[in-house]
Symmetry: C2
Subunit: 208 residues, 2 copies
DNA sequence: TCTATACGACACTCGTCAGTTCCGAAACCA
DNA sequence: TGGTTTCGGAACTGACGAGTGTCGTATAGA
């Protein structure tokens, strides 16, 4: 799904004529779309805004994506998902959780939350938007936290009785709540509070 | 703020002439606005939809509220807030938390979440929408949970060391996350899971 | 009864935005 | 070099929605 923009080329039998499409512009356009989506929301974002921010013509966008909806879905689907394999391994769960909070990751997380916010009302009506957002923004983060907790269980640090699936949602849901519902910034310090006051105690570990 | 619709009458010095405005229609119109807001979101909701659903003319709406934005803000502000004083008191925190999950309250909570969802992208740009939504939907629920936890502390059931403010957000944020981000229904059973697997353990109480 | 207003219903204006088309310039290929 | 396509830019079309005005009817006070 992430190579939608290339698929027609692969299938196309005719070795096209004339000037070639400059696919190096795709990422800039998609990034511009995500920027505007994050700051305005889907409905208040206009295709003209995206074209202007990407320093492209609107016709260029419509030559590549058939509609605003497809452009946004592609932009979300092509987002680099959060660090697939570079999970920390410090030997303790708290160490892993804290090491997982890097300054750029927090800023990046806040941006992804804003992008989600811009799509929330659409997601309940359109499964395509919902799937794109969930598989790229929501799921990777939850998967990372599940892995860290499972490692702690394997290590014997945490009892296997805990509900990994639910507890892995504590940090993502509470940061989303603070940012979207309360309108407050989520910083490193707040996430550490969540780790020490909520997640670790809920796992039966003592707060430091 | 909730009596915005009446204020001009109070101040108006002239004892108006002609047919009187039928204020008994206000609640129906505001309820229709909330319904459409919940199912479509602010941007996709049209004033015509609200008028039609309320079986009213569009002019009637504009005679009462100067704009779509003010209509929605008033609709949200006039929502009945969740049970102000009828908090349960069963003697144990778990008993209180479980007793607090009544079937209508869960359904009502889901609707309020949908209403929030319809305004999330606006809230970051317009403090008026944000304040209305937070003071009526978000804050009362958090306040109720803070009260239940503080009672448990006073009772000696829970240590006073806990971060009441943060822990009172566990249930609201995780139900909002499940509903809005994951697109899954929130039922009584799930809330009990949150109580037993997250909140009570985080407060240092044993899961039953 | 007379006048003024509210009512629902509908037509209307006006701005905005998705999507299309055209332009001159540039780039690719035969 | 000439035909074909892309580019950014801008004008254009068509639909839709916020807000207004009008019409016939209903209801209030004078």
């Amino acid at each position: 799904m992430s190579d939608t923009t290339l698929s027609e080329e692969d299938v196309d039998p005719t070795p096209r004529l004339g000037r070639k499409r400059d696919h190096s512009r795709d990422p800039e356009i998609l990034a511009a779309a995500l920027d505007i989506l994050a700051e305005k929301g889907y409905e208040r974002m206009t295709v003209d805004m995206v074209a202007t921010r990407a320093r492209a013509g609107k016709a260029t966008l419509y030559r590549r994506w058939p509609s605003k909806a497809e452009l946004v879905i592609d932009a979300v689907a092509c987002m680099k998902s959060t660090h697939p394999a570079d999970l920390p391994d410090t030997g303790s769960l708290r160490g892993d959780l804290v090491a997982n909070i890097k300054a750029p990751a927090v800023k990046d997380g806040e941006r992804k939350l804003r992008i989600m916010a811009g799509m929330v009302s659409l997601m309940s009506e359109s499964p395509e938007f919902a799937d794109a957002a969930r598989s790229v923004i929501v799921e990777p983060r939850a998967a990372a936290l599940r892995t860290l907790i499972r490692r702690a269980i394997d290590r014997g640090e945490v009892t296997p009785d805990v509900d990994v699936h639910v507890l892995a949602q504590v940090i993502p849901s509470m940061t989303a709540y603070k940012s979207l519902m309360l309108g407050q910034a989520v910083d490193r310090e707040y996430i550490i509070t969540l780790v020490d006051e909520v997640l670790l105690p809920a796992l039966g570990l003592p707060a430091p």
